[in-house]
């Protein structure tokens, strides 16, 4: 990214000075890398989660300017933010959808680490803090959607308070201490938890959870941010109806990350067991995985039992999540018949998912191993072919220009939408702008790489070519597997993957590549 600054001006020098100064801080242990090419986002889902956390921090701080944590005013203040305050609609929707994105990304992040066995090699602390962090994230999202104090929020707060109350021995004390005496306290205390205590706890956990190597991929960050905005534009979150104690609410389900617990609660068994113990056991089981997993290998294919447990867990989470949502639309049935889930049926399905999950994992592992074997055979027979999209430098430039023009068009359209009061369309277009910026940045970075790689036309006798633009970022992604974006310039037909890539990376243009390849 920084390599483009051929001529250093004062400002760039200043930035480098700051960057270098960070070496004396706690950040010395952290290595940031800004990948110079596309890398799979699965590897840095944690960073994306963190980015949504930052987005939530910023939008949340903005919302605090208007929000009032008072029993009969909170809903009205949110309504004011949504309807009256300029761009309040956008801020609120970004905050809401970023919270969903954060929970989703955190869950995906966890499962990716789970199946790739990253919690091994002394990463146990990172894993356990990550699980706690995920739980706190859900609590944070939960307290967030409660302080709107709509009907649904009121029911959610009641359930949270009474579940806390249901804990044996310590429950009532914790409830009194944390929740206060009634809704007037609940809302204020949930607010305190939501905007201060839980974020501080999360930051503390993050300080422990952060690995030392961090990837900050600008296009992917922008694409995710854009996706959050686009979702906000397409599915703007509603206000719900203001809670009025004289009007008992209708049937309501919680947010999607809690419907799993809700399904358990709906089976009518003891509320402590279904609402606290089962979720707690699930979380503890996940947290204990590194200490249970004794396999020496990392890949999910080589750890069949752990993979099968993971798949079963995912299947159960998905089924309960859907089941928690599902309420038969037949209003002629009595409420209890619509709401209560038959526990025998429910737990039977949960049990049935275990053999299904194990069987599915077994099938997937066999298939994967089979295809691996075939790929090996094929590689032995014929060289590996990679088909790439190759644009000439000229076309890359034209594409960037086209994207720029598209962005200008979208800028105008977004402003026009804002002027004419189409708030959600404005949000949608803004998200689209961020996404097209992501595309543009990727193209730009690709173009830069290509420009660097292009052979210096005539081979001149030049000894020190890299003296000027010496600002090679030390942390760019390891250039090992750079086969995909490579132009097929060298006429030597096929390149065996890794060795060819490292040869390509030799920057000295005096060395003929073909010479090296055919020694």
């Amino acid at each position: 990214m920084v390599v483009s600054l051929k001529r250093r001006n004062g400002f760039a020098d200043f930035c480098y000075w700051i960057w270098d100064g960070l070496e004396r801080t706690v950040f010395i242990g952290t290595k940031f890398s800004f990948p110079a090419r596309f890398v799979s986002p699965f590897g840095f889902l944690g960073m994306l989660t963190f980015v949504t956390f930052i987005i939530l921090g910023i939008t949340g701080a903005l919302l605090m300017f208007y929000y009032q944590p008072i029993l009969d005013r909170s809903w009205d203040s949110v309504a004011k933010i949504n309807n009256v305050v300029p761009f309040g609609f956008a801020i609120r929707n970004i905050h809401y959808h970023a919270s969903n994105a954060m929970v989703l990304l955190a869950v995906l992040h966890m499962y990716y680490q789970y199946f790739s066995g990253r919690y091994k090699i002394r990463n146990e602390i990172i894993w356990v803090t990550g699980v706690v962090l995920g739980t706190v994230t859900i609590l944070e999202a939960f307290t967030g959607y409660d302080i709107i104090f709509s009907e649904r929020a009121e029911l959610a707060i009641s359930i949270a308070a009474s579940l806390t109350n249901s804990m044996p021995v310590v429950g009532p004390t914790i409830r009194d201490a944390m929740f206060g005496s009634g809704f007037f306290d609940f809302i204020l205390r949930f607010y305190t938890l939501h905007v201060f205590i839980l974020p501080i706890v999360m930051l503390g956990l993050m300080a422990v959870h952060m690995p030392r190597f961090l990837v900050f991929d600008v296009p992917m960050v922008m694409a995710i941010t854009g996706a959050i905005l686009v979702t906000g534009g397409v599915f703007p979150v509603d206000l719900g109806s203001k809670f009025q104690p004289t009007v008992p609410p209708g049937i309501t389900v919680p947010e999607w990350y809690l419907t799993g617990i809700y399904a358990f609660l709906r089976t009518q068994y003891d509320k402590f067991v279904t609402g606290v113990l089962w979720p707690g056991l699930f979380i503890v089981a996940i947290a204990m995985t590194p200490f249970i997993d004794r396999y020496k290998k990392f890949s999910w294919k080589d750890r069949p039992i752990i993979t099968a447990f993971g798949i079963t867990g995912i299947a159960q989470v998905m089924v309960t999540t859907y089941w928690g949502f599902y309420i038969t639309p037949d209003t002629t049935k009595p409420l209890v018949a619509r709401l209560v889930i038959d526990p025998i049926f429910f737990y039977l399905v949960m049990l049935l998912l275990v053999p299904i999950g194990f069987g599915f994992s077994y099938m997937m592992i066999s298939l994967a191993k089979e295809s691996e074997r075939k790929a090996k055979l094929a590689a032995a027979k014929a060289p590996h072919k990679v088909s790439t999209i190759n644009f000439s430098g000229k076309w890359i430039n034209w594409l960037i220009v086209a994207l720029l023009l598209f962005q200008i068009f979208l800028d105008i359209a977004a402003y026009n939408a804002a002027l004419s009061g189409m708030k959600n369309f404005n949000l949608f277009l803004t998200g689209l702008i961020l996404m097209s910026f992501a595309g543009m940045f990727h193209l730009y970075r690709h173009g830069l790489n290509e420009a660097k790689k292009a052979p210096a036309a005539p081979p001149q006798p030049q000894t020190e070519p890299k003296s000027l633009g010496g600002s090679e970022p030390p942390a760019t992604a390891p250039p090992k597997e750079e086969t995909s974006g490579k132009p097929t310039l060298p006429p030597a037909a096929v390149a065996p993957e890794i060795s060819a890539a490292t040869l390509d990376d030799i920057k000295d243009p005096t060395i003929g590549k073909s010479d090296l390849r055919n020694p």
């Binding site: 359930i159 009194d176 009634g182 104690p245 049937i251 009518q268």
Partner: protein
């Protein structure tokens, strides 16, 4: 190490450690009751007040319609915001004719806490033919309007006292206006909101 065997004896070093531990403990003991900072108990003393309906009028045995309900607030704090508390909300029910709602005295009325005993959602009374019971919208608990006892749904599966709603006892004056008798928040009297009440047999 230097001493041959110190088992069963207290060395100077152990004694110092004990003193140190005692010092730490005594230094932090005064903070234990500071935990009282967190709960925020209500200090309203329940008193005898009239049954004030949401429209501001006083409920009367002669005029209040049969087989219907209203939401009343008790005990009122005087602060309109705090009075919106769900824990201060009660379903004020006049029973249907067949359950004894026809007579023009206190026995035709019931008052139950609106906070469902299961997970504290707010239930309400449904007067429709075939229902005539309290139903909770969250998990489907149903309450008998005669006694306040849950007869279906998760609340009915909870052990006593958590299967009977807290209640308020009423009395009528000569005009037929209804009054709430001062409540005692214990499971053997009015019950505890959100926790329950022992049903007297």
């Amino acid at each position: 190490m230097s001493e041959p065997d110190t088992r069963g004896t207290v060395t100077r070093r152990d004694f110092l450690r004990l003193l140190g531990a005692a010092g730490v403990a005594t230094a932090f003991v005064p903070f234990v009751p500071w935990g009282k900072f967190m709960p925020n108990p209500s200090n309203i003393v329940p008193s005898k007040v009239q049954v004030v309906l949401p429209d501001g009028t006083v409920a009367n045995v002669k005029t209040f319609p049969k087989n219907s309900s209203e939401v009343i607030t008790y005990p009122s704090s005087g602060d309109p915001v705090i009075d919106q508390e769900a824990f201060k909300k009660w379903q004020f029910i006049r029973l249907p004719e067949e359950l004894g709602g026809g007579v023009d005295d206190v026995s035709a009325f019931r008052v139950y806490s609106m906070v469902c005993l299961h997970l504290w959602c707010l239930w309400k009374y449904w007067p429709q033919e075939g229902r005539k019971r309290g139903e909770c919208p969250c998990h489907g608990s149903m309450y008998n309007p005669l006694t306040g006892k849950a007869f279906a749904g998760p609340a009915s599966l909870q052990a006593p006292p958590s299967n009977v709603l807290a209640t308020l006892y009423l009395e009528a004056d000569n005009n037929g206006d209804l009054w709430i008798k001062p409540a005692t928040w214990s499971t053997n009297a009015n019950g505890v909101v959100g926790y329950g009440r022992f049903l007297k047999t």
